[in-house]
């Protein structure tokens, strides 16, 4: 997704002189096309994310549309108060771009996991939050949102190859996308883990369970009507997200279910505990955190049997 982001942003900068790109010393082998083409509108501010967001605030006040780029945690958590008191408070078009949502930086450990970014930003009014599911949707989403008023947070992945079957890059702000129809259970997902969710739906199909798969790429403004429409048709829905269970997609679904008085259980396939320090590939981390394809299948099957899904977290590690 970051490759798609860099290429698309470079195209946008060709068309619009307001586009500016700041990085906190990250994006090596990704941002060069922009940096080389527009040296006047590219700055590596150094390892200083608070300052980066502050600078972007000043640039945006003067008419620029600055994108600030870093790894998810450094882009959102370190400068969180700057984001709040800068672009959010002033309603300025600063774009926070975080790469590596979830546990994509697997071997790098907890400091690099983006597990609460959506949660902490979703509580702030006035910031658009976009988490594309693949690189094709990254491009579409960026093209259709970059010039919106007010700040935006883009939660990107590193993967520029995998595509979510059935999505075909579709993106519509404030809408959810159905990538697979089904009537037995509803799987709802956000971000790069959408590919695992779709794969889990295929597994379920083999077991005779026909799952509907919904992709949520706009967390704010939430696709509330689309969610209510689909949640209203099922008695159980599984929220799949590489994010803590609190604050992210699953929480959003619970808000919609409660707010719309729907009769649908929400089972959360999310990170429920703090990772214990053992690192590994994203696939390994998914398996230990209860986010593997098999864990999604199990959560869906259990919910259909009327069984409360058991968190798989740490079970594989023999903890607790």
């Amino acid at each position: 997704m970051r490759g798609a982001f860099a290429r698309t942003l470079t195209e946008l900068a060709e068309q619009d002189p307001r586009v500016f790109l700041l990085t906190g010393d990250l994006g090596y082998m990704a941002l060069e096309p922009f940096a080389e083409r527009f040296p006047e509108r590219f700055i590596n501010v150094g390892v200083a994310e608070q300052n980066m967001v502050g600078i972007a605030t000043g640039l945006a006040e003067a008419g620029y549309v600055p994108f600030v780029y870093s790894i998810v945690t450094f882009a959102t958590l370190r400068p969180y108060e700057f984001i709040r008191n800068g672009p959010i408070l002033h309603r300025l078009p600063v774009r926070i771009v975080g790469v590596g949502g979830g546990v994509e930086y697997g071997h790098n450990g907890m400091s690099h996991y983006g597990l609460e970014d959506v949660g902490v930003l979703r509580v702030q009014p006035g910031i658009t939050i976009i988490a594309p599911a693949d690189h094709e949707q990254t491009k579409t989403a960026l093209l259709s949102t970059w010039n919106l008023p007010g700040p935006i947070y883009y939660r990107l992945g590193k993967d520029d190859k995998t595509v979510v079957p059935g999505l075909e890059g579709r993106f519509s702000l404030g809408r959810a996308e159905v990538v697979k129809q089904g009537g037995d259970i509803l799987l709802i997902t956000m971000g790069g883990i959408a590919t695992e969710t779709v794969a889990a739906a295929a597994e379920l199909e083999k077991q005779g369970v026909c799952a509907c798969v919904l992709i949520v790429s706009t967390l704010n403004p939430p696709p509330e009507d689309d969610l209510a429409f689909h949640l209203g048709k099922f008695t159980a829905a599984v929220a799949v997200e590489a994010h803590y269970a609190v604050g992210g997609l699953g929480s959003l679904l619970c808000e919609v279910v409660a707010g719309r008085n729907l009769n649908c259980r929400v089972i959360r396939c999310a990170v429920k505990d703090m990772p214990d320090g053992r690192t590994g590939s994203q696939a390994y981390m998914y398996s230990t955190l209860g986010l593997s394809r098999q864990a999604i299948v199990e959560a869906a099957s259990s919910s259909l049997r009327g069984v409360q899904a058991v968190p798989v977290n740490k079970g594989a590690l023999g903890v607790r």
Binding site: L59, G63, E81
Partner: protein, 280 residues
């Protein structure tokens, strides 16, 4: 008289009176008493700096004008001094300044950009210089002669983010960025020397690549002279270490930690208003 002569020839004079440190102080005492709020000592500390800036240095044809110089009160808790300057510039009326800290007013303890004239909301220390660095960078890239003034407190330099901005501004030679440090030696809970030692501050800024100057923060003509003399086209960013007296102008407040937060009692007010003179 055209705009630039109003702004640059000398202290600006509006229907509300001359924009001087003394007139700002009178308003600070009047309004803080009326509203019953504190931060009086901090506002008095910067009264002369604000009068120098808004009376004679900053070019703002009107609030919101695209090519205005930008001003950021990074030490947002001194906002009352800023409102006083706005009032004396004729940007806010007597009725409006009388809403200071009233329910529903835009004139709170810290400045909100919803109030015309406030370029950036502040109140959380350590953010203003980054906003200013961005604003200065924007002016540079837009080939504008706009300048950006950021007024910080000395204790605010405790915030690490300030130094991120200091390094950035020096590296990018943001000559159009002018920081003024209200060097009054006090913070909420003590004297700055006892909390975090910031001695040799001039050398610190110089070693970071800034053009640093020490000045009496109550000597308006000296501050104005220095700021007017700055090369804001090329070279290093500028910093004025403005040596001030916390609570300046009210004898019982001067250098007293208590007056960071305390509001005025009737007796305090009687004495303070006598010392600063009656508000215009």
């Amino acid at each position: 008289m055209n705009t630039s002569s109003i702004l640059e020839a000398g202290a600006a004079v509006s229907a509300q009176g001359a924009l001087t440190g003394a007139s700002i102080r009178r308003i600070i005492i009047e309004q803080s008493r009326r509203a019953g709020v504190g931060h009086i000592g901090s506002a008095l500390s910067v009264a002369d700096i604000v009068s120098a800036l808004f009376g004679q240095v900053i070019k703002v044809p009107s609030p919101g004008h695209r090519e205005r110089d930008r001003f950021i009160l990074s030490k947002g808790h001194a906002a009352l001094a800023l409102y006083a300057a706005f009032h004396l510039r004729g940007w806010i009326s007597q009725d409006e300044i009388d809403t200071f800290c009233a329910d529903g007013s835009h004139l709170g303890v810290h400045p909100e950009h919803a109030l015309p004239g406030v370029d950036f909301s502040t109140g959380s220390l350590g953010q203003g210089l980054s906003f200013g660095a961005g604003a200065a960078l924007a002016a540079r890239r837009q080939r504008s002669s706009r300048r950006v003034f950021v007024l910080l407190s000395d204790a605010e330099l405790n915030e690490g983010s300030v130094w991120e901005a200091v390094m950035f501004a020096a590296h990018h030679k943001l000559a159009n960025l002018i920081a003024i440090i209200d060097w009054n030696g006090q913070q909420a809970f003590g004297y700055t020397r006892d909390v975090i030692d910031q001695s040799r501050i001039t050398e610190r800024f110089t070693s970071f690549g800034w053009d640093a100057h020490n000045v009496d923060g109550h000597n308006v003509s000296k501050m104005v002279g220095l700021m007017r003399g700055f090369n804001t086209t090329d070279g290093a960013p500028h910093v004025l270490i403005a040596h001030t007296t916390f609570g300046k102008g009210v004898s019982f407040m001067e250098r007293q930690i208590k007056w960071h937060y305390s509001p005025l009692s009737d007796q305090d007010y009687a004495q303070a208003s006598q010392e600063v003179g009656k508000a215009p």
